[in-house]
Symmetry: C2
Subunit: 122 residues, 2 copies
């Protein structure tokens, strides 16, 4: 499977999985997260290979349709980019504080903000 597609569907699935049916969720998870083949899923779930394929295609369409309307994946990626920018700027300030020790008392305060930002990226 194409790696870009795997990442794309993985990100969409993470955000919108609750909007799929239990069966769709199970099939997408087995295929995209657990790396089962269509044949293996078919055997495990006792669904025809074509049935598994159709469920995957249908689920992918549902996930993409929701992203086209809500843009959650895009927004989260933008948010992460901003958070990383803030971390870079905080690290830069920390470097300055370490070099000029006159305001060393500020280092813990700056590090506290860095911690909060890193927590947001988890």
């Amino acid at each position: 499977m194409n790696i870009e597609k795997m990442v794309e569907i993985g990100l969409l699935f993470e955000q919108y999985k609750e909007l799929l049916t239990d069966k769709q969720r199970e099939i997408v998870s087995l295929y995209y997260e657990e790396d089962y083949s269509l044949g293996e899923i078919s055997e495990n779930l006792n669904v025809s290979r074509q049935g598994v394929y159709d469920a995957l295609k249908r689920s992918e369409k549902i996930l993409k349709d929701y992203e086209n309307k809500l843009h959650l994946v895009r927004k989260i990626q933008e948010q992460e980019k901003i958070t990383k920018t803030i971390i870079d700027k905080i690290v830069d300030i920390k470097q300055d504080l370490l070099q000029n020790r006159d305001c060393a008392n500020l280092i813990p305060k700056v590090e506290n903000i860095e911690d909060i930002c890193r927590e947001m990226l988890k």
Copy 2:
């Protein structure tokens, strides 16, 4: 109308309006954003008063069901709370820098982070 409900539906509508039909979106907007009465909406859209009422109830249920699955409003509120916390901490650091002028060169850098955070709240 109860103000808490207005705020609640307003927040949900902001996040999930794209998941309503055009007609549902129009009715929710007129009622919750433009403060039209059921009677006025009925007259304007040439739909029975009961039809407007049913569309509102149905739309509210759809919006709430999506929030129960995706928790977007809750997540955005949590995100805003964290951003406000960072701003408070940045303002505190700025105060320290203004009082101890040894590191005054850091003030623009700190203000830059504050600006980025305030932009996120818009």
